[in-house]
Amino acid sequence: MIKLNINGKLRQINLPMDTPLLWALRDHQGLTGTKFGCGMGLCGACTVHLDGAATRSCVTPISIAVGKKIVTIEAIDQDSTGKKVQEAWLTQGVPQCGYCQPGQIMAATALLKLNPSPSDADIDKAMSGNICRCGTYCRIRSAIKQVASITEIKP
């Protein structure tokens, strides 16, 4: 039995320590906003924040998450950047099927918190681990730029 800090609350988890965080979140905690896409760290659908860093939960055993702050898509609106990213996603009409978008939003939020006005190359670097089979990349880029410009004009 371990305790994990998930979205600001301590949760008891009774699973083998090598269980990937993804399945602890989805199957045990019912936080299904974090998606399964590949299970090998190749697609980004499962991206969560671990102490603010974008992390592929499908290849992160729960043992590694102990003592860290885990934030999932369900709570990213509590972060001011996360909230802006979600709003920009809607303004730009980014989602198609939407399945990859929780992971995209988590990756974009982590990028923008670290680098409030990313260049195209920065965006490519931060976002290319996230596959969107529907092909929403151009709008993702626009949405990230929208947030970046809002951040810039703020005093």
């Binding site: 906003g33 399964f36 989602p95 969107c132 089979r133 092909g135 990349y137």
Partner: protein
Amino acid sequence: MKSPLHHPDLSTDILNADDDSLLITNISRRIFLKDMALTGFVLAAGFPSLLRADETTPSSTKEKYGADAMPHGWVDNPLVFVAIAIDGTVTIICHRSEMGQGVRTSLPMVVADELEANWQRVRVEQAPGDESRYGNQDTDGSRSMRHFFMPMRRVGAAARTMLESAAAAHWKVPVQDVRAEQHQVIHPATGRTLGYGELAKAAAKLPVPARETLRLKNPADFRYIGKGQVGIYDGQDIVTGHAQYGIDTRLKDMLYAVVARPPVFGGKVLSYDAKNALKVPGVIKVIELPSSPPPADFNPLGGIAVIASNTWAAIQGRMALKIDWEKGPHGSYDSVTYKAELEAAARKSGKMVRNDGDLDAALQVAAKRVNAEYYAPHLAQAPMEPPAATARIIKGVCEIWTCTQAPQVSRERVAKWLKLPEDKVTIHVTLLGGGFGRKSKPDYVIEAALLSQAMNGKPVKLTWTREDDLHHSYFHTVSVERLEAGLDTQGKPLAWLHRTVAPTISSTFGPDSKHQMATELGMGVINVPFDIPNLRIENPEAQAHTRIGWFRSVSNIPHAFAIQSFVAELAVAAGRDHKDFLLDLIGPPRRIDPRTLGDVWNHGESPEVYPVDTGRLRRVIEAVSHEATWGRILPKGQGLGLAAHYSFVTYVAVVVEVAVDEQGKLSIPRIDIAVDCGPQVNPERIRSQLEGACIMGVSLATLGEISFKEGAVVQDNFHTYQLTRMDEAPREIRIHILPTTDFNTPLGGVGEPGVPPIAPALCNAIFAATGQRIRQLPIRDQLRKD
């Protein structure tokens, strides 16, 4: 009163986590349910004794086309699709599956517009699989809007008429003196108003007006249709992680399953040892699923299932299984050898499927003969959400929650496999995390039902891992297309020979089908609208060794790749500008009866209503050339490529701009795509579909390949089956939709027709940039210079 909406039942017994704050099931839907319990549905009056589709669909002894020709046709009864609560909330049923095309927004938006409903007060609910009630639900073929725009307009107009009649009766004034406007009925003479909620009860008692008497809106008065101002209905749920996909279903006491399936299609389990699997913590049971005899149909592949207390335990358990497989008849399927077989077949004549003029004579006299062979490999749809389904069986009633493009087909097949009457099977349709044709085949839905049955009806969620998805798809075909043309001294084509060789989708459903069906040939190969006097199309045999199935835009992909690449090659041979050459090849604007081209299918549409209109094809080519400034001079290593293709009764032309650096690294600064899909109901979603089509087209052209060795798929996951990522995606995509919307013209498809012209336009651009001609997909490292 029986609730007409099945989907919300889901939330009544969804797993309650130990802490209420953890409950992340669709909260808005839950609140909605509570509201409904308070206010009740009134207009729907329990959606009573509903008319059946075969009663509402006009019967005709003539050929049937469009929605009329689809199983269960269409339904336009407002009592089936609209419910109004006394608080004024309008609930609209969406009966087609949402997989990213925006149908849960666009179809209800059509109803809401005719109904004069305020979109802010509209709720959308998803229909379960039940075609006798809702009309056809097979969400494929780019036809949801094309087939249901008019029925949904009538649904809205009929409901609006009932509300107006109820108000007029209440005020005792003639119905012509009142009008519905944004959720209320107005009597302008006196300024009186009644809200929809107030009118719902009385309106529900009125008869549904006859179809012929309905007054549809003048398109000039549309509020939502054609405007693109309505955001996607599920947007908020998606960006907050609350959207529910098939893989997200959670039921009380639910078990989790994965299945080890025969690596080779047609193979089966010889023996297995589950000892170690059962030792994995969380593993509950190991079950053998029988394999099915050919044809593949939608039948499960069989194999060994592991049931566990969570998905990870099930996956671990599966890894611990020891299984001896029998490979069966396709154990030597090898993509390298198979390609050679297809090429050999393409070099000999085969079944003639169209023959105009005298090809042989024309080739004899040609001043110049050009030929080329093009190869396009198998592909997997690879929706980001892999197939998943959750089933439970209680007292002989099976309920399934799944991401399916084919809810009615799923229902029929599950009923057959469980030996239950169809009305004892309910398919709840969740959101789909992409479909692209994979989720039209309900093999995984049947698997979930069988596993629940094996567990005495307990809820079982079956998840396919990415490896499962790539190993056991219904794959896009693999093809060799061989073309030969004869040019006269002016470089004008006199003769055109096209041999198309590819295993057919019909092999999945019948024995020994080795020729493409009319539906496959009608995807751009037989109905090629070129003005060439001597033209022959042949279809030599190809034996299938795996399950062949639909992939977004289907056979249009290899056909357009070959034809549109070859036209560019001919332009070079003729020493002419590609665009001018292509326009001359298409010839003057004319409306061609597709039957005269040997195409009896015509994407299921009437040849009179939907002729092949070369004028429209010319216009998209001219538009895209103009927008992309075709002919502009680019520095060395950069180039523009053009392609045009007609599919799903929509006309598309594309110009791709590429840059290839010294090392041969390809980048795509820009794509221009011009589309004529007839009237545009939701232009914003049309744009997003076309953007997506450009990316998918680039992805399959540059990276996409499923190959087989010793009968099994070589690729495992996204490191070996690569998809285009952001850094290699086109940097800018410009969508040009034409002409101006005229709602009196027939609608074209949108979801698929953007895909086929991308690969050839890209390869033509690479040729312009480098002089290197790509005839084999994917491009992968063919351009590399080291």
